[in-house]
């Protein structure tokens, strides 16, 4: 089915959480492939390992065993620093609770990833304005996050996730804190991004949201139990 090499290929991925007495398996020899340009939804009950998987895919966490190949590079045992470098150029994140910095304005929040990738100041202004315009929140550029509605905050968060033009967007229940109308807007935005070529992996509880994706991966106890291809 796939001609070119997949963007993401994980094989026999394992992750454990240990406390003093118990060891919990979060991911149990999980193997998944995701192609460039796909829109994948990950579903499953609480504690099935969805968020752990997303964190590993986003290089925020490292696996205990197994392989993770991202764009032909094995990253499973990268140092934190190497992961950070790869991450900031390739991956954007969208969270359920938006995670904007309260002390920064809308503009400055969106600008942040560009600062860390070393984009020049004039270029930053241009790119931030471009993306704010696209997300239709240009008029709010000098506001602080608390002055915005939930839907607006999530738009800012998405703007921040895409400003660096990442190849991959990881969304962790992006509509979880929104009403249905704002939720639909966000899903439309993500679909647009996907249609423009960005790969999207989204963790969700909502069957409604999952229907926007090409494929649903269902997890249970750290293993993939079913894949639905959406038509």
């Amino acid at each position: 089915m796939m001609q070119e090499a997949p963007m993401i290929k994980i094989t026999n991925l394992e992750k454990f959480y240990r406390t003093e007495e118990v060891e919990t398996i979060a991911l149990n020899k999980l193997s998944i492939e995701i192609a460039t340009g796909e829109f994948v939804a990950i579903m499953g009950p609480s504690g099935c390992g969805k968020s752990t998987l997303l964190n590993i895919l986003g290089m925020l966490d490292d696996p205990d065993a197994g392989s993770y190949i991202f764009n032909d590079i094995e990253v499973a045992h990268f140092t934190e620093r190497k992961r950070a470098d790869l991450r900031k150029h390739n991956i954007g994140f969208v969270f359920q609770s938006f995670n904007l910095i309260d002390e920064l304005t809308v503009f400055e929040n969106v600008e942040l990833p560009l600062i860390y990738t070393g984009v020049a100041s004039a270029d930053r202004v241009k790119r931030v304005e471009e993306v704010l315009d696209k997300m239709q929140i240009m008029h709010r550029r000098n506001h602080y996050p608390q002055q915005l509605s939930g839907g607006q905050q999530q738009r800012v968060a998405i703007a921040r996730a895409v400003v660096n033009k990442p190849k991959l967007i990881l969304a962790d229940e992006p509509t979880g804190n929104l009403d249905s109308s704002n939720g639909n807007d966000v899903m439309e935005l993500l679909t647009d991004l996907n249609e423009q070529g960005t790969t999207i992996i989204m963790v969700t509880h909502s069957e409604h949201d999952a229907r926007y994706s090409h494929r649903i991966i269902r997890l249970l106890d750290g293993q993939s139990v079913m894949e639905n291809i959406m038509v």
């Binding site: 968020s51 964190n55 986003g58 925020l60 966490d61 934190e80 620093r81 950070a84 470098d85 991450r87 900031k88 150029h89 994140f93 969270f95 609770s97 995670n99 904007l100 910095i101 309260d102 002390e103 920064l104 400055e108 942040l112 990833p113 600062i115 860390y116 990738t117 921040r160 660096n164």
Partner: protein
């Protein structure tokens, strides 16, 4: 990127106004006090270093056997300078000076008193004086020349050109201004306002020239040639006295570096034991300690807020920040805060410095124009910022984004322990200061309650000078009949200070060598005991009606004891080369150090030594009225001189100046340390309240009472304070006992001091912590549980 850091730092400061005020205020106050102390320390360690030849200047000192041991002093005979110059080729030049004292200048009927020193012309070659007018070569060419400082010239002549002006010195001698120098700097041992030549001094006081090898009344300074080994030279002059004056062959001379004099002038048994350097060390320690607790405070408050910043760190990491970038950001914030604190400290310093100057009796200034002072201050600020920010920076940057974004507390036990240790450090410091302050005041009040042996209240003294020397009896008669005083007596010096000592005293039953022991002396005329309120234990005072009393003397109890006289009255004691009959014994009176046992004193009769007048004010008349009457009578007999008097109890209180200063400083620092420590505790308490929010809510839902919650939050801090108290009291018990050991008369380290300290600490701690604890206990449990 930098701009972004400062932007967020600034907004974060503005957003949390209370926190920022506490943080900047605490650090700023700590810095201000610390910097003032450092200015003081700098001023002390650079004392006398403005003399260009400072490394080659030495003071000649003398070791002499005393009652039990060796006494060291800087008084030398008048011939010494010439002999040193003649006998030792290593010496480039020598100069003599007397002890500077206030003398009367009169210009156009304007009388003013200035501190005057007499010195050889070579003094100008040894020491560095800044000549504004005239020059050092010609300044003492004419015997009746005077070199004056700018401020003295200004006071005496106003804007008139002072050069060549003639003024009357002490009502008789005409002198001409030959040069004007800049006022001596703040950190100079010499403090004179006018300098007259040694030749003039000798011509006005002929006894000086003939005072001989037995008279140690002058200071001798030596400038050695470059490259000379001063230690070796010091060894060579050791036995010089024996060669010229066999009678005093026990007196050994040595050279002492002039620049060390200010901080190292204490000698015990012939060995240098330091001096004010102790205070410099103490102040340096305090400066570092205060800056340290302010830093600790800063760290505590910053980490306490980490919970709130952890999410920000997580986000930054997710969008691509490396750990180094986060560290940079937080260090940037703490450096910014440190610089704001520095600005605040500068304002605070200029407000505090005048009071501090008054306290320590110095004229310290903030060295605004000193390039190096700025470099040093900015370096200290930078280091403070780095030090204070390093812990929060390293700690905050270590947060795992996955965890903090999920709200998992990554603030573990280690951070809690570290912060506990920081708080204990602060409170140990505070405990030590509280105990020290209490003990210093306890010691002062103990000494003040020591009986002085005479009636101090209502006793006034003034210098006997000018016409008053001849007119004293008339003055006394008029003053008594006016009702201003009840009695007056002329003495050789003030009763508030030791006048001087002599040796060569002999008495019946004296052991060999005892005639070499220096014994304190005061020379008086009539009415001495009645004026000063001394208790005559045996015999009587000198009596005007008995002509034979000119060859008599009185002793104090300590002298009788030292001389082992069973029947002192009628014994013959040789004093000042004269056979004198003991006619009275007075009760011991304190005139030297109030901390030491009273030493033997000879009260001799010699009118010609009179230099001071003591008066007993009439207790029935108002003091101001009596003083006004006395001034009028004084002016009648001595119109040339201003009537300047001193109350004996005030002069005596001057002896407690060092201890009082220590007490005041210690109290100020105690308060400061407590305030800063409380800020730290406040930070820790808010941190704990924040961290235990969930636990408190669950307890509350399960039915815990407010008082129960308050106790469960406060008890940990109580433990910290108690641990600090145990450590702090052990440290202060040790060093305060050592401090008290300096004094023969001393208070004890009572148990109540420790009870008081722990009580103060607990009360202060509970007041600080309870606010946070009660706030947390009263908060709505639903809110914090929902956030989970």
């Amino acid at each position: 990127m930098l701009r972004n850091y400062f932007k967020i730092a600034w907004r974060s400061l503005v957003k949390n106004k209370l926190y920022s005020a506490i943080n900047i205020g605490g650090l700023g106050a700590g810095m201000a006090v610390s910097f003032i102390l450092l200015i003081y320390v700098y001023n002390e360690v650079t004392f006398d270093s403005f003399h260009e030849k400072k490394d080659r200047i030495y003071k000649v000192m003398k070791n002499q056997p005393i009652d039990n041991g060796i006494g060291t002093g800087d008084a030398t005979p008048v011939q010494l300078a010439g002999v040193l110059q003649k006998d030792y080729p290593e010496i480039e030049t020598t100069a003599r000076t007397n002890w500077a004292y206030d003398q009367l200048f009169n210009y156009n009927n304007k009388p003013l008193k200035f501190n005057v020193m007499s010195a050889d012309a070579s003094y100008l070659d040894i020491f560095t004086l800044n000549f504004v007018k005239g020059n050092k070569r010609d300044a003492f060419k004419d015997i009746s020349s005077v070199i004056m400082t700018e401020s003295a010239v200004k006071a005496l002549f106003g804007d008139k050109d002072p050069m060549g002006q003639t003024v009357k010195l002490n009502g008789t001698q005409l002198v001409k201004v030959s040069a004007v120098i800049k006022d001596l700097p703040q950190n100079s041992t010499f403090r004179f306002k006018a300098l007259i030549s040694w030749k003039l001094f000798e011509s006005t006081q002929p006894w000086v020239k003939n005072s001989g090898w037995g008279n140690y009344s002058f200071m001798t300074y030596v400038l050695v040639k470059p490259g000379v080994d001063a230690d070796a030279l010091s060894g060579k002059i050791k036995k010089l006295v024996a060669r010229y004056n066999a009678d005093n062959k026990e007196n050994k001379l040595f050279l002492f570096p002039f620049t060390s004099w200010h901080l190292h002038s204490d000698f015990k048994n012939g060995v240098n034991t330091g001096g004010s350097i102790e205070y410099v060390r103490l102040f340096l320690l305090l400066a570092i300690g205060i800056l340290l607790i302010a830093c600790i405070n800063f760290m505590n408050l910053s980490t306490a807020r980490s919970e709130r910043r952890s999410r920000e760190v997580g986000i930054r990491k997710v969008v691509g920040a490396r750990r180094a970038a986060i560290i940079q950001q937080f260090l940037g914030e703490s450096i910014l805060t440190a610089f704001l604190a520095f600005v605040f400290a500068l304002l605070l310093m200029s407000a505090l410095l005048p009071s501090f100057n008054e306290l320590i009796g110095r004229q310290l200034t903030i060295p605004y124009t000193n390039y190096w002072a700025w470099v040093a201050a900015i370096a200290v600020t930078l280091v403070t910022g780095l030090l204070a920010g390093s812990y929060p920076a390293l700690f905050l940057s270590s947060f795992k984004p996955v965890k903090v974004l999920k709200g998992v507390n990554s603030t573990g036990k280690t951070i809690w322990h570290t912060r506990q240790i920081l708080v204990i450090t602060q409170f140990v410091f505070a405990t030590c200061l509280i105990i020290s302050s209490i003990l210093i005041y306890k010691q002062i009040s103990f000494i003040k309650n020591r009986p002085v042996g005479y009636l101090q209240q209502g006793l006034v003294e003034f210098d006997l000078e000018g016409n008053m020397i001849k007119q004293f009896d008339n003055f006394r008669r008029d003053a008594i009949s006016s009702g201003a005083i009840t009695d007056a007596a002329a003495t050789s010096g003030s009763i508030a200070h030791t006048n001087g000592n002599t040796w060569g005293v002999t008495w019946p039953g004296q052991l060999a060598g005892e005639d070499k022991i220096p014994i304190d002396q005061i020379a008086v005329s009539y009415h001495f005991t009645s004026t000063f309120g001394l208790h005559v234990l045996q015999g009587r005072d000198f009596d005007e009606s008995r002509t034979g009393d000119t060859s008599t003397l009185m002793l104090n109890e300590a002298a009788v004891k030292m001389m082992r006289l069973k029947q002192p009255l009628g014994q013959i004691v040789k004093w000042q080369g004269k056979q004198c009959t003991v006619i009275g014994v007075v009760k011991n009176f304190v005139w030297a150090s109030p901390y030491e046992p009273v030493k033997p004193v000879i009260i001799g009769f010699d009118k010609s030594w009179a230099g001071q007048v003591g008066m007993r004010l009439n207790p029935k008349a108002p003091v101001s009225q009596s003083l006004a009457k006395l001034e009028a009578i004084y002016k009648k007999y001595n119109p040339e001189y201003p009537f300047q008097y001193k109350f004996v109890d005030e002069s005596f209180n001057g002896k407690f100046q060092t201890e009082k200063l220590l007490g005041t400083l210690s109290t100020s620092f105690t308060i400061l340390a407590i305030v800063i420590s409380c800020l730290g505790l406040f930070g820790l308490a808010s941190f704990a309240a924040e961290q235990r929010k969930k636990e408190i809510s669950i307890r509350k839902v399960l039915g815990a009472s407010i008082s129960h919650l308050w106790f469960s939050l406060s008890k940990e801090f109580l433990q910290l304070v108690i641990i600090s108290f145990v450590i702090g009291s052990a440290i202060s018990w040790y060093y305060m006992n050592r401090w008290l050991a300096h004094y023969t008369y001393r208070t004890d380290v009572s148990w109540w001091v420790f009870i008081a300290t722990i009580s103060i600490s607990i009360v202060v701690c509970m007041l600080t912590v309870s606010w946070q604890a009660i706030k947390a206990a009263l908060s709505n449990p639903v809110k914090s549980l929902k956030n989970e």
